[in-house]
């Protein structure tokens, strides 16, 4: 039988009206904004904080992602921040006193070509050097971990192996957001929904507040955590970001008995699948190629994704699709996030997580809170500053980002 979802407490957070002024205003009430508020309060004692969300709390990408958590990235900088995130995930349910079904069921990234195999083996070695758990599996071992997978070699892109990270997994995304929201609220953070930021107040080169659909709110410091809308906000504030927004979609099947014990991702044929606690098969694919702010995706992307899924998992052929949806992801040229100060004083930005920021939620909040509180980057996010596009120290994670963008 499918797992039961945890009961959540009746009372999660207050719904206060905005005050006229805060020490820190966070724009965007997704996972990253909420985690930032949580760590500002917990680690830096800054509790006069508002999180402003234009819609409902965590209704953006946080509510739409396929919840895959892993840390098997290629470069040292990425391994460090994503592994920090995974370590934080491992302690968060207890710390937040909220069981959000973090399930370390492992993630396999499949290889379908000789080049894939070489890249995968290189990444496994890089991961191990960075203390990240990783193994390379041959097709037979792939089948042992996930018996429903098709490893015959008479398909267009046979499975030639996989990287495997046993500590990786999934979590119940809504519950993660609610857990963070509840603790942040308990410590005094105001979570304000239906409050869109429409402009910025500046004194010379310094930000001093935000204009919102619920009036002016003054702020000592402002942190942007608006994912796909980051460049819209940056433009309002008067600077540019190296970000392009694209729709990314996912879908779920009807409920099934447990058949899929792990998480399988394939960059090459482009599908990723896990089975939710309730029993749905949760699947995602690639982004739409063009810039877009529509929260839906192209139909032909679903077609390609389903073709790949059915070839890899023949038993999915008779599954019914229940629903599809899309989010707007903020991509950078090197497929790595930006956690940084900006050309405007006291204005900080956290964006560019693209298709893979759910896994980064804890470390994103942890490092962004540090950056906002101290005005300095934490060693973990220093490499992810805006100036890497000027210095050329790009962190090119396209290969390990797993969703091509």
């Amino acid at each position: 039988m499918a797992n039961h979802l945890p009961e959540h407490p009746d009372f999660l957070w207050r719904n206060p009206d905005p005050k006229s002024s805060y020490d820190v205003v966070i724009v965007g009430g997704g996972g990253h904004g909420l985690a930032t508020a949580y760590y500002l309060a917990k680690h830096h004692g800054i509790t006069n904080v508002a999180v402003l969300e234009r819609g409902w709390l965590a209704g953006g990408n946080m509510a739409r992602n396929t919840t895959i958590i892993r840390s098997n990235y290629l470069w040292d900088e990425s391994a460090a921040i994503y592994e920090k995130s995974l370590k934080l995930w491992e302690g968060l349910p207890e710390e937040l006193e909220y069981d959000f079904l973090f399930s370390q069921r492992g993630v396999m990234n499949l290889a379908h070509t000789l080049q894939d195999v070489r890249e995968a083996q290189r990444r496994v070695n890089a991961n191990r050097l960075n203390g990240v758990d990783a193994e390379f599996l041959d097709p037979q071992q792939v089948k042992e971990v996930c018996p429903i997978i098709n490893i015959t070699d008479n398909i267009r892109y046979p499975v030639m192996g996989a990287t495997y990270q046993p500590r990786a997994g999934i979590a119940k995304h809504d519950h993660v957001a609610w857990a963070l929201a509840r603790k942040a609220d308990e410590m005094g953070v105001d979570l304000i929904q239906n409050c869109e930021v429409t402009g910025f107040y500046k004194d010379g080169d310094r930000v001093i507040g935000v204009e919102t659909t619920r009036g002016r709110i003054n702020a000592g410091k402002v942190g942007l955590a608006a994912a796909g809308h980051s460049s819209v906000l940056a433009e309002l504030a008067g600077f540019r970001l190296p970000i392009q927004s694209h729709p990314l979609q996912a879908l779920v099947s009807e409920l099934f008995e447990p058949v899929h014990p792990t998480v399988v991702m394939s960059n090459h044929v482009h599908v990723y699948v896990s089975q939710a606690h309730k029993g749905e098969l949760v699947m995602g694919a690639g982004i739409d190629s063009y810039n877009g702010y529509g929260q839906r995706g192209s139909f032909h992307v679903i077609e390609e994704q389903m073709a790949a899924a059915v070839e890899l998992f023949p038993i999915f052929a008779r599954a019914h699709l229940l629903r599809t949806w899309g989010g707007i992801v903020d991509t950078t040229l090197d497929a790595s996030p930006i956690i940084s100060n900006t050309p405007i004083d006291d204005l900080y930005v956290n964006c560019g997580w693209g298709t893979g920021g759910f896994k980064g939620t804890p470390a994103s909040g942890f490092t962004f809170a540090h950056t906002i509180a101290t005005g300095e980057a934490h060693p973990l996010n220093a490499p992810f500053s805006l100036d890497r596009f000027e210095t050329g120290h790009l962190i090119d994670e396209h290969g390990a980002a797993a969703v091509a963008h």
């Binding site: 809308h229 460049s231 819209v232 433009e235 540019r240 970001l241 190296p242 970000i243 392009q244 927004s245 190629s289 063009y290 810039n291 877009g292 702010y293 529509g294 192209s298 139909f299 032909h300 040229l333 596009f389 000027e390 210095t391």
Partner: protein, 100 residues
């Protein structure tokens, strides 16, 4: 599913096309004069508006020609397609209700 009007072939399904990002990004006139900041702007910074956007497309499995389009990134409506070397048509004057 978007229907894209190739200026050379007429309306075709979006799967025939390849996306090329922002249009009219000119190669720097005097590359030696650029500092790191300006190079970064040229290489990595592109507009990303929610609304009217001038962008490049290639009719990759049709005539294979590049062309430009004006598209609304919010509604996905194509407002115009035009030749690769032409300038973008001026935006239509806003109506009283404005366009949604």
């Amino acid at each position: 599913m978007m229907l894209i009007n190739c200026p050379h072939c007429g309306p075709r399904d979006e799967v025939e096309f390849h996306y090329g990002g922002q249009a009219h990004v000119a190669y720097p006139e005097d590359p030696h004069a650029l500092n790191d900041r300006e190079w970064a702007e040229y290489l990595f910074y592109r507009d990303n508006p929610k609304g009217r956007f001038e962008e490049r497309w290639q009719h990759s499995i049709g005539c294979r020609k590049w062309f430009n389009a004006v598209r609304d990134t919010h509604t996905y409506e194509f407002l115009a397609t035009y030749g690769a070397n032409d300038t973008a048509p001026a935006p239509a004057p806003a109506t009283v209700e404005g366009r949604m």
